[in-house]
């Protein structure tokens, strides 16, 4: 139980950290929709802890939607979007495990290609469901395809970038921390 709470708390912090990227990118006018770092953070926690951290992801998304983003003005929409946003990577992960094409639970023996595919699959599911939900509130027919593709691209780049950076640099960071600790 303690481990469950601890994992969910760490998840909450990581996903909130991911959403923090939105503001500097927005200020630099880099186009947030093309670099959804928050999605990368979500993918990362699902890979690290599995589906059990779903409550932490939902809470983090709810905090962001209700108190930070513009969606907060409509609490129902914020709750729905948080649930969609948190559940889709979990569903993608479950589908891949259930059909036996990959075992995303065993991170130690996981092929990096499976992670890349998982990011793509979760991106598409997440974008599709958000798009379908959002279309109830706005007329998107004129630019429907551009809107959807922009969403998918953002999820893909954000997801791949964060996971790649963590995988690439975490050994160095962990090594540096352990050296500092051993010197002391």
């Amino acid at each position: 139980m303690t481990e469950f709470i601890r994992n969910n708390f760490i998840t909450y912090l990581i996903v909130m950290l991911g959403t923090a990227f939105i503001f500097p990118l927005g200020a630099l006018e880099l186009g947030n929709e093309y670099y959804l770092m928050a999605f990368g953070a979500k993918i990362l926690v699902f890979l690290l802890y599995g589906v059990s951290i779903l409550p932490g992801v939902i809470l983090a998304k709810l905090t962001y939607m209700l108190y930070i983003s513009d969606v907060g003005a409509d609490p129902t929409m914020a709750v729905h979007l948080s649930l969609i946003s948190a559940a889709m990577p979990a569903i993608a992960m479950y589908a891949m495990n259930f059909t036996g094409v990959s075992n995303l639970r065993d991170l130690a023996h996981l092929d990096f290609r499976h992670i890349i595919f998982f990011i793509g699959f979760a991106s598409i599911l997440s974008s599709l469901t958000k798009f379908i939900y959002m279309s109830n509130f706005m007329a998107l027919d004129h630019e429907a395809a551009q809107f959807l593709m922009q969403y998918i691209t953002g999820h893909l780049i954000g997801g791949t970038l964060i996971v790649y950076l963590v995988v690439r640099f975490s050994p160095q960071i962990l090594g540096f921390i352990s050296r500092v600790v051993s010197v002391r």
Binding site: T99, V101, I116, F121, L128, E143, A144, A145
Partner: protein
């Protein structure tokens, strides 16, 4: 007859027969009553899109050698359904290469291996994941072709069709259900009647 021609004929017959069955199904009054669609509309997907299953099956059986036969039938289908020129070209290419892309994607990412389909046992989970991937590719690429710059190409159809959202909601589940049902029936019939012996081998 050479092996390639035999493969062409088999692919042609399998896909053509599936189109025929599906076309008959969607024109049944009972089906129209359930689906609520009284006439065929490109923006509303079928609840059982069986042809996608047949495209996947022929690729699983013959890999790239099924390309010409599949292209021929899907091109003919485009003419039969009287699609606009750019839609006919786009949809034919998607129908021909979409399932192949799905199979190659799953194989390149080391998620599944379909090279021994029919000779060795392929897990049903892998087949189901393939139909899921092929359905997503099929729906998304057709959606992109149809709705990309819709306002420039045929703005009038915005008022005629039932919206981008209905396109996705009807196409995706129809593709998944139709292709999965078709593949499962094909595997079942193949085992029951030992259809494996009809497969053309080099």
């Amino acid at each position: 007859m050479s092996g390639s021609f035999k493969i062409f004929v088999q692919v042609f017959l399998i896909v053509f027969f599936t189109y025929f069955v599906w076309n008959t199904l969607i024109n049944l009054p009972e089906y129209q009553l359930i689906s609520g669609n009284t006439e065929w509309n490109i923006t509303v997907g079928s609840a059982f899109y069986l042809p996608l299953g047949s495209w996947i099956l022929v690729y699983l059986l013959y890999r790239e050698r099924a390309l010409i036969g599949l292209f021929t039938v899907t091109f003919m289908a485009g003419i039969y359904y009287d699609l606009e020129e750019h839609l006919m070209i786009g949809f034919t290419l998607i129908n021909t290469f979409g399932p192949m892309l799905a199979i190659h994607l799953l194989e390149k990412f080391h998620l599944a291996d379909y090279k021994n389909f029919g000779t060795e046992r392929t897990p049903l989970g892998h087949i189901f994941f393939l139909t899921l991937t092929a359905s997503i590719i099929n729906t998304l690429s057709k959606f992109t072709i149809y709705y990309w710059d819709l306002d420039f190409t045929h703005a009038h159809s915005i008022w005629e069709d039932q919206g981008s959202i209905n396109f996705l909601i009807s196409y995706l589940p129809g593709d998944i259900i139709g292709s999965t049902v078709f593949i499962l029936i094909a595997i079942l019939f193949g085992k029951l009647f030992n259809l494996q012996k009809l497969r053309v081998t080099d």
